[in-house]
């Protein structure tokens, strides 16, 4: 696919298909990992929900998101640095797979559950999630710098 800002309808359709393939795979893996988390770490039942806000922390999603930022930063600064945003490799890995694997909305759904139990705890987890993501991004840059 040639690197133009404006794509032809055929190129745009192909780009959408590539993003869909990567995004579908990323979403599937995230869903499976979150299901494992639900079985491994029970958060209380619907009848007796846990009242401890620390039990509601979405550790698996936080880990997925943090690793996703690290990998995305590393890819965008190193392997895919000179690739156009319409490059198939960038579309399938960054826009598709990592975009589907990581989730902002999922975090907010989990934050809402924590908010009902502890507002301070919710703010702490939210700030921690952003800080962990930024730290992972800086680590991704650092890896690039050591290689250069």
């Amino acid at each position: 696919m040639r690197s133009h800002i404006t794509l032809s309808p055929k190129q745009l359709g192909l780009a959408m298909l590539i993003v869909a393939l990567g995004g579908g795979a990323g979403t599937l893996i995230r869903d499976l990992l979150l299901k494992i988390n639900v079985y491994a770490v029970p958060r209380g039942s619907a009848v007796n929900p846990s009242t401890d806000w620390t039990h509601q922390i979405p550790w698996v999603l936080l880990a997925i998101n943090t690793i996703g930022v690290y990998v995305a930063t590393d890819l965008l600064r190193h392997r895919l640095r000179h690739h156009d945003p319409s490059d198939p490799m960038r579309l399938v890995l960054v826009t598709g797979f990592l975009g589907g694997l990581t989730s902002y909305s999922g975090l907010f759904s989990d934050f809402a559950a924590i908010w009902h139990l502890s507002i301070g705890g919710c703010l702490l987890v939210a700030v921690g999630a952003i800080a962990a993501g930024l730290f992972a991004g800086v680590l991704g840059l650092g890896r690039h710098r050591r290689r250069a």
């Binding site: 959408m16 979403t27 995230r30 869903d31 826009t95 694997l101 990581t102 902002y104 993501g133």
Partner: protein, 119 residues
């Protein structure tokens, strides 16, 4: 079957986000990052609506397809933070700081708005 539908919905969400970014980049090449912010805000808004509206046990599969699938695909955490980190490395400090602070604040507002509309 639910896994397949969640994956398909996630793929659809990713394509919508890509189209946001594509049309933003086409009309204004430097505004692509803000299209990601808009996609994240829209996705969390829909998630707020769905989280409030789809609470019954009978809605569990629909909830998973909409929340984990479509909204999860539409929103992205990796690009939302990787791009500002790269921007600050290239000395675009104000742009990076604006992206990092705007996304969570806007998403919080949209999530609450979505819940309010569902209510």
């Amino acid at each position: 079957m639910t896994l397949f539908l969640v994956s398909t919905a996630g793929a659809l969400g990713c394509v919508v986000r890509y189209l946001f970014e594509y049309f933003a980049r086409r009309s204004h090449p430097t505004s692509r990052q803000w299209a990601t912010v808009a996609a994240n805000a829209l996705g969390t808004g829909i998630a707020g609506f769905a989280a409030y509206r789809l609470t019954g046990m009978s809605d569990a599969h629909v909830r998973e397809i909409v929340l984990t699938g479509f909204c999860g695909g539409l929103t992205t955490f990796s690009s939302a933070l990787a791009v500002p980190v790269i921007l600050q490395r290239e000395h675009h400090w104000a742009h990076a700081a604006a992206l990092v602070t705007t996304t969570p604040l806007l998403c919080s507002g949209m999530f609450v708005l979505g819940m309010s509309i569902a209510h």
